[in-house]
Symmetry: C2
Subunit: 520 residues, 2 copies
């Protein structure tokens, strides 16, 4: 058994059976080992930014880690932006980075780079395996690190010779028959729970939730706590994953722009944080505050994102006598299938009308979403994955990860044209894997967010040179051709009929499809 085989065996024994890969020469033995272990699912991405977003959204849905397979420091660099998003999402994943063989590192070969430096600037955990005998143990340790503290970025660099040289079985610290489990999560102290229970009953109290509290049973429990205490349930602007639609406990979602965000918290006297950090504006703007809450508002950190969120909610529900309370939930209120003019509002109503139960919506429609998405809150129950770190280009490859994790669920991508162009190669992976993904591209021909932000930072007027940095036209992108080039069927919708018909067909199919939505 060589080191590569010992790694694959360790991963499988530890329950890690999915890798989003963009291999190079230093990862050849890993690829060869795949033939012996067909239960390892290796998803080829044509660019490493796809691997990290794939593993990120895989974790968000599966609540367990996948791997990425990357090629030296430049490959890691390509994965970096979506690792940033994964880190901010609290996702756990294992980056496997091939390095040069140990004896080759003495020389200035072309691909030699600072793997440790670039890795440590984004990873929670980093290790470089010195020999083949260490690979299994280091792989198990990486998986353990990735599973720790609710999810971390773990990066394991493997010199090429550690893959091809002989490994012992079991090797190193990690017994390949079962990875070490992560340490138990820290829990809030009883007195902190009791203080929170008391605080939530006071006027102007809010419970702000994040992480696993945003969806499923824990979201409902948070809703029960708020029903029992009278506190307001708050959700931050950017969220990794949240329940949405009929039956979901209602919550106030903090808006992105500064003024509405301040407005949303104007009468708030306390914010109890459970699984999330204190709210902050996305950017700083001249003369505007970074913190959106009023000056007299108490910020109480009950349970940090890396602590035991389920325990904290359970304990808080006990302390507030909330276990029998009825949460306020969104009703099912499907809009009629709209007719008339194609607008972002009518397009959003059509999706709300048609969206199947259990769908996963990857929402990267940064500006268009404000007008498009509201009716989805009362659509059939579904889940939404959001941007977390502000690095654009996560939703197309993220959909690959979500669809790989949940092959029986419909995945819908909402993306602006600017964001889509970052990782457009992901369309090919959708086609190759036959993933059930419907992509809606909002073709507003530019970085609309920047058109808006320019005024937010105090620039009152701008001319042709500045505009050329925000407009993506001259020529316009043709997303129907781009999708076809990647093997994904597509159509352009310039009328509501075209859009509705394309959307119905896409949702009815079980493979990928793209709709270019052209409207203001």
């Amino acid at each position: 058994m060589n080191g590569a085989e010992s790694l694959v065996q360790t991963m499988l024994a530890s329950g890690v059976d999915t890798v989003f890969a963009n291999p190079g020469t230093s990862e050849m033995h890993f690829c060869a080992a795949l033939d012996q272990y067909p239960e390892m699912n290796c998803v080829l991405c044509l660019f490493e930014g796809g691997t990290s977003a794939g593993a990120d959204c895989y974790f968000r849905m599966k609540r367990d880690v996948a791997g990425t397979l990357l090629h030296l420091a430049p490959g890691f660099g390509n994965a970096y932006a979506n690792l940033h998003n994964a880190r901010k999402a609290g996702s756990g994943l294992v980056n496997i980075v091939g390095d040069h063989a140990t004896h080759h590192l003495a020389y200035e070969s072309p691909l030699k780079g600072d793997i440790q430096g670039v890795s440590q600037s984004i990873s929670h955990w980093y290790r470089w395996s010195p020999d083949a005998g260490s690979v299994a143990g280091d792989g198990a340790a990486a998986i353990r690190a990735a599973r720790s503290l609710n999810g971390q970025i773990a990066t394991l660099a493997l010199p090429a010779n550690t893959a091809w040289e002989a490994a012992r079985t079991p090797a190193g610290r990690g017994d390949p028959t079962g990875a070490e489990q992560p340490p138990a999560l820290h829990r809030p102290e009883t007195r902190a729970i009791e203080a929170a229970a008391q605080r939530l009953t006071l006027p102007g109290a809010a419970l702000m939730i994040g992480g696993a509290a945003l969806f499923g049973g824990l979201r409902q429990l948070a809703g029960q706590i708020c029903a029992a205490t009278g506190a307001r349930l708050l959700i931050d602007t950017l969220i990794p994953r949240a329940s949405r639609g009929a039956g979901t406990a209602t919550a106030a979602h903090l808006p992105y722009p500064v003024e509405p965000k301040l407005e949303a918290l104007v009468n708030t006297r306390s914010i109890t944080l459970l699984g999330t950090q204190r709210p902050v504006t996305f950017f700083a703007y001249p003369g505007k505050p970074s913190l959106p809450e009023p000056a007299n508002c108490e910020i109480a950190e009950l349970c940090r994102p890396e602590m035991d969120i389920a325990f904290a909610l359970d304990a808080l529900a006990q302390a507030t006598n909330a276990t029998k309370a009825q949460p306020r939930v969104y009703p099912l209120d499907l809009p009629a299938l709209p007719s008339g003019t194609l607008t972002l509002e009518s397009a959003g109503a059509a999706l709300a009308h048609l969206l199947p139960e259990g769908a996963i919506v990857c929402n990267e429609a940064i500006t268009s979403g404000f007008r498009f998405a509201p009716p989805l809150t009362q659509a059939r129950p579904h889940e939404m994955l959001g941007g977390t770190g502000g690095a654009i280009g996560w939703s197309l490859p993220g959909a690959v990860g979500a669809a790989t994790a949940c092959p029986d669920r419909k995945v819908v991508v909402l993306t602006g044209d600017g964001s889509a162009m970052y990782t457009i190669q992901s369309l090919w992976t959708m086609a190759r894997e036959g993933l059930d993904v419907t992509v809606i591209v909002f073709a507003n021909r530019g970085y609309q967010i920047l058109r808006d932000e320019l005024q937010n930072v105090g620039v009152q007027s701008y001319g042709a040179n500045a505009r050329a940095m925000f407009d993506v036209e001259g020529p316009s992108l043709d997303f129907v051709a781009l999708a076809k080039g990647h093997g994904v069927p597509a159509s352009r919708a310039e009328t509501l009929e075209q859009y509705t018909s394309a959307l119905q067909a896409a949702l009815a199919s079980d493979g990928p499809a793209l709709i270019e939505l052209v409207c203001d």
Copy 2:
């Protein structure tokens, strides 16, 4: 005057008038300042990997620095792989990275990241401007660093408030009326020149050149030195820029695969390095050496890449009485316009027949190039830009940079399909800027280099799972549709007639065009 304006003014006063940009909110004031300074040429890239490759190849052709405009740590990450290539090419460039406003960095906002960590893992020089008054001086220092030692990666992080707050004029150390010039380059000592002159006359001597010695007058001077001494002129496998075609001093180009590389040096007794590093194999392979020269071969470092290459060549030419010698040069030997079957060889002959004088060929046809490119050595005089750091995806955006630097020259891109997909968005920038670029995509439907490398690392057979990591088919990519989607006219060539006709049309046009070359 705000900090952003003081930066633009400093850049222009220092002779830096081109920026490859992918701005975000933190760079808005820089964009707004562009309207006041229309002489600043800002080229919009739809992905940051395009900005770094653009600035890299701009430097290779212009021999002076351009800027990139990046958005926080994730934007820098996206630029990373092509910064690696730029660093290995010895290119100088200035990364301008927007950061959050200083007062906002106290909070965990979504885009907050480790700009310093990721920058320092690839940059030669890094600075973070603390206030608007420092921006001009820091900008001048960054430009100076980028111009130092024949070209370096300089990264200047600018908190958003340093752009919008008031700046002094002139500000900081750098007077915006003229950037500090870089320090003088180190020169080899006289006795080292004399020793080299002696060594080159001995049996088995080779002069291995890099950097500025690879093209133009210095390349010819190197050829004269070899003609006068009898030494062999050697060029490493990967080169940033080299003269090629008729009239170019002949040189032995070290091949990529290990065995031919060893073979090329088998009788070599000394290698005098001038502007380059010692040769090393690209990767390590089981049981094969990392160093390609024979054990008894002397490696003599005469002039490191960051030293004064022009001085060293001049001094060496004097010491070897070479200034009147006639270098051996490649003759003009244009192949006939081929007919018959479309093969890589016939396709290469057609390009050699048609390539106009002064063309710039960005050669990322990693495996196809071995068979396609040889006739170009006797084509009309032109220059070739090559891969330098082994990170794929540099040639399309690199062509944007080369064409921006040299608008009067024809640029030709040779790229594999796997490489093209990394930064395919660059096609849009070619279309928007109307750049004179002809792109030839070798559609071998996969990572051919990996198919080859698998055997090099000792994997003798592999099955369907491994193959799925190397093959880019099921579905095949349609580069004609992809080009159309980006606004670039394109055609597919499956016969020699189709190819020749498309190539003639593309070379005759003065805008971008793409040819998908389908052949084995």
